[in-house]
């Protein structure tokens, strides 16, 4: 640490306090998960976490979470772009609507999405003749995860876009870049770090989502069961050690993925000169 004068003093107490807080709120509960699972022997542990039904649920949970985060990155950026760059009637309303998935109890979201996408629902009956089934299928999981993850990308990209002057695009166009290349070389690199943050948040939220998914997924073993459901199922059978074992694997995979994305973000920041 450098001996520079800071405007806000107290590096020592501040760091101590935040570390204590982080321990109480995050680290100790997470550590207890590992302690619980430690009641199992290694072979028992492996049998639990590698059961075919559980493995299928990992694939579904992480696959759909990544897919939903990707979809949200695309449409969330577009939505943020519209909210920042255009003026249209009802803009404030839409801006406020974006946060709704945050506030809505997830069960409510699950029930209404199921009602919409069921064979008899408004959207479901249009998709049915096309041979597309959403409700009670893996696709339903994706729809629910897209719904709950939307605000993250919009809210992280929006301020960065607001900060990006229209003049930047005009300069690119004057220099001979077309629309696509202006986006590719000027706008995208500028919003990329924020976009990655939004992606990470949406992904993390989607991995842990439970309430909205169980209504629409149908929970068919090996097909549309998510990992959090597996944990709940084990808990309901009083298999606490099994539940924590699965939870532990989920935690490790999530942590590894988040670390990877953070690394990617640091790389993007360095490449674009925001590294301090």
């Amino acid at each position: 640490m450098s001996r520079q004068t800071r405007v806000l003093p107290g590096f020592g107490p501040a760091l101590g306090l935040t570390l204590t807080w982080l321990s109480l709120i995050v680290l100790i509960p997470l550590a207890s998960v590992f302690l619980r699972a430690a009641n199992l022997s290694l072979s028992e542990f492996w049998a639990v976490v590698s059961a075919p039904r559980v493995v299928a649920s990992y694939k579904l949970s992480f696959g759909m979470a990544l897919g939903a985060a990707a979809i949200n990155s695309l449409f969330g950026s577009m939505l943020a772009w519209c909210l920042v760059r255009y003026r249209f009637p009802g803009k404030r309303l839409i801006d406020a609507l974006v946060d709704l998935p945050f506030a809505l109890p997830t069960a409510v979201a699950g029930i209404s999405l199921t009602a919409l996408y069921a064979k008899t629902g408004w959207i479901g009956q249009i998709l049915e003749p096309l041979g597309i089934q959403v409700a009670f299928k893996p696709a339903g999981v994706l729809v629910a995860l897209v719904f709950i993850g939307l605000p993250f990308v919009v809210r992280t990209v929006q301020p960065v876009l607001e900060d990006l002057d229209v003049e930047n695009e005009e300069a690119a166009i004057c220099l001979g870049a077309g629309r696509w290349r202006t986006f590719r070389h000027v706008i995208l690199p500028t919003i990329l770090p924020a976009l990655l943050t939004g992606f990470t948040l949406a992904f993390a939220r989607a991995v842990g989502e439970y309430g909205s998914v169980i209504f629409i997924a149908g929970n068919i073993p090996m097909v549309s069961e998510i990992t959090p459901l597996m944990i709940i199922t084990k808990l309901e059978q009083f298999d606490y050690a099994g539940a924590t074992a699965v939870g532990e694997v989920m935690l490790l995979i999530s942590f590894a993925l988040l670390l990877l994305i953070n690394g990617l973000q640091a790389w993007a920041a360095k490449r674009t000169g925001r590294d301090r």
Partner: protein, 359 residues
């Protein structure tokens, strides 16, 4: 490349930004668009660049109608007031951007691009900053990089929107001289927008004065300064003292005093209401005494630094005056704050009085 602007009109809602503007920018000249903020000068520049569309009128680039051409086909270099450098790119990449965006068939090789970028960076005397990011540069450096970036695509026209507006006074003066020097080297048709009359008069070959969406006067700096066509131009190009009066024989009657004038643009009729102007250095101060002639005034401030002394005075009814005297003259008068004196203009310029003339 020559630029012609014909009958351009542009409205933003109820506000008329440009009202039937027709102008010629001959090839190779450096022209200043000068006017107060909101006079439409930036809008005109953006219309020439193609960044804005006129409601009516034409832009001709080298005699060729340009309104159907997209911005990137016009080959204009545009320099923005706030630089608009790409902050995620190094200085090198910023300057190389335009060349890298060329269609594959005409795109220079990486080695050619590298050479050219370094040549341009040398031209703006910032080669040593190639690997830095814009956030690590000073304002003056950023603007020079922005200029190098605009020049990299070999534009046929260079358009600069208040290029020095965001810089401090000293850097501004330096860059002004540097821009003039650069233009003398490159001879590329250039238009720059400014609200600083000193900047326009000092740098440009020709000055276009604009006010409220109209062109007030065009001419060389010398012409517009010494023969202003309208009261607005007179007032905008330097400090002025204003007198309201009426034509009376050979002179102008202001209050009880009869002051001589230079004849004006087109000598107003006897008894006509006129506006009379004098620059601060065109007024002399005489001590108050028996039979002294001139406007009565009272000294309110004496500022002496540099070669001349500036005196601020208050006339009848609190009307402010500003007079510039040589140091010797001021010392001879021994002016003190509160002293009563007489003002006699050596040169009065008269304009016919018009309701709402932009003073």
């Amino acid at each position: 490349m020559s630029i012609e602007v014909r009958n351009i009109t542009k409205r933003f809602g109820a506000f008329t930004a440009l009202d039937d503007v027709t102008l010629d920018f001959p090839s190779g000249e450096l022209v200043a668009l000068l006017g107060p903020s909101g006079c439409g000068k930036t809008t005109l520049l953006r219309i020439i660049a193609g960044l804005e569309r006129a409601d009516a009128g034409q832009v001709l680039l080298e005699g060729e109608e340009a309104s159907t051409k997209a911005v990137r086909e016009r080959q204009v270099g545009f320099v923005f007031q706030h630089y608009a450098l790409f902050r995620h790119m190094t200085v090198f990449d910023n300057v190389a951007f335009g060349m890298r965006m060329k269609p594959r068939a005409v795109r220079p090789s990486a080695a050619q691009i590298r050479d050219k970028v370094h040549r341009l960076l040398e031209l703006v005397q910032l080669d040593w900053l190639a690997t830095r990011f814009p956030s690590q540069l000073s304002g003056g450096q950023r603007q020079r990089i922005a200029l190098a970036r605009a020049l990299a695509v070999e534009p046929r026209v260079l358009l600069l929107d208040e290029p020095f507006g965001a810089l401090d006074a000293k850097v501004r003066k330096e860059l002004r001289r540097w821009l003039r020097h650069l233009h003398d080297e490159l001879h590329i048709t250039s238009i720059f927008v400014t609200h600083d009359q000193e900047e326009a008069l000092e740098v440009a070959d020709r000055v276009v004065l604009m006010n409220q969406g109209r062109v007030e006067q065009t001419g060389s700096p010398q012409e517009v300064y010494s023969h202003p066509a309208t009261p607005f131009v007179y007032g905008f190009l330097g400090a002025v003292n204003l007198f309201h009066g009426r034509v009376d024989g050979e002179g102008v009657r202001v209050g009880d005093e009869l002051l001589p004038h230079d004849g004006g643009v087109d000598a107003p009729a006897e008894g006509a209401k006129v506006l009379a102007f004098a620059r601060p250095y065109e007024i002399d101060i005489l001590p108050e005494g028996e039979g002294a002639s001139g406007m009565a005034a009272r000294v309110s401030r004496v500022l002496s630094f540099g070669v001349s002394t500036r005196v601020e005075l208050e006339g009848e009814g609190g009307r402010p005056f500003e007079v510039e005297l040589t140091r010797e003259r001021a010392a001879g008068l021994g002016l003190a704050v509160g002293q009563a004196v007489r003002l006699t203009p050596s040169n009065l310029r008269v304009f016919e009085y018009e309701e709402g003339a932009g003073i």
